[in-house]
């Protein structure tokens, strides 16, 4: 079971969904903070839902306020980056570039792509955490630090 979990995690890394920052999060998880990673990721999804809505609204305006969009995306990129959401972060970077050059279509297209990556990652980590919870605290206590 432990090995299955490890493989699941490895595949998330291999497919580029997560980066080393996720490992840093795991290192902060311990007996005092046993669900830290799941909590942080949950908080991220809750927190970023607002941001996504704001960006969506801002993208409906005409003409686009690129400076506001870049600012919103900067926040979103920051929090995505802090949980190791590699693909999401890369879409954020792309979006900011389009803002910088004032490319409306580019922004809109990239945002759709970003939402897809964001949703995909959410599903994948939910499965991962569910599985991790099933394995339970006994296995985690045996894990060497």
């Amino acid at each position: 079971m432990q090995r299955q979990l490890a493989n699941m995690k490895q595949s998330l890394f291999d497919q580029g969904y997560l980066d080393e920052q996720f490992i840093q999060l795991e290192e902060l998880q311990d007996d005092a903070n046993p669900n830290f990673v799941e909590e942080v990721v949950t908080l991220y999804y809750r927190d970023s839902a607002r941001l996504i809505q704001s960006i969506e609204q801002a993208l409906e305006k005409s003409p686009l306020d690129f400076s506001k969009l870049e600012c919103l995306m900067h926040q979103f990129k920051g929090s995505s980056s802090s949980i190791g959401a590699k693909r999401v972060k890369s879409e954020c970077t792309q979006f900011k570039e389009y803002c910088r050059v004032g490319n409306s279509d580019g922004c809109k297209r990239t945002f759709q792509q970003l939402k897809k990556e964001y949703a995909t990652l959410k599903k994948k980590v939910e499965v991962y955490f569910q599985f991790a919870r099933q394995i339970g605290p006994v296995e985690k206590a045996c894990r060497s630090k």
């Binding site: 840093q24 927190d47 970023s48 926040q75 920051g78 929090s79 802090s82």
Partner: protein, 167 residues
């Protein structure tokens, strides 16, 4: 944000250091709080610069260090840095961007002015950290700090030269 090798450095981190962390992103603030707690610091958090300022003013000796995000809706990190620096002798770390220009803006206090004066006096080509350090004569300043600042300053100068060349 990383705690790589933190167990190795644990002896060098002053346990019980009182840190005020400011960031409008709940995700980042939460992560920062956990990281700082792992370092055995006493952490206070707020998501508003204005509140941070109030906290510091109300309790002048309550904190040893402030860590703040640069981009915040109610007040940007630089403003907080300026106000905290002016009113009290409290170190502020700004996070959020590695743009050399932003770094330069952050270090706009007396030490930086002395730094620039020293560099200009010596000439940028000839300015070496040892001589700058001597000339600045600021208590508590180390060679590493000057060397690192010099590197960033050179990047900044190169960048503005490039921008000027493009126009």
């Amino acid at each position: 944000m990383s705690i790589e090798g933190i167990s190795g450095y644990a002896e060098n981190f002053p346990a019980g250091m009182r840190v005020l962390a400011v960031d409008d992103s709940p995700t980042c603030l939460n992560l920062l709080e956990t990281l700082l707690t792992e370092c055995h610091y006493i952490v206070t958090t707020t998501n508003q610069a204005r509140v941070a300022l109030e906290m510091i003013r109300e309790n002048k000796d309550g904190f040893d260090l402030v860590i703040s995000n640069v981009h915040m809706p109610d007040m940007d990190g630089f403003k907080l840095l300026e106000l905290v620096g002016l009113e009290m002798d409290l170190p502020v770390i700004l996070s959020g961007n590695s743009d050399p220009e932003l770094v330069m803006r952050a270090i706009s206090h007396e030490p930086h002015k002395k730094f620039v004066q020293s560099v200009n006096h010596l000439g940028i080509e000839n300015a070496v950290p040892e001589e700058i350090l001597d000339m600045m004569n600021v208590e508590g300043l180390t060679l590493e700090m000057v060397a690192s600042h010099l590197q960033k300053y050179k990047l900044y100068l190169r960048r503005i030269r490039l921008e000027a060349a493009e126009t």
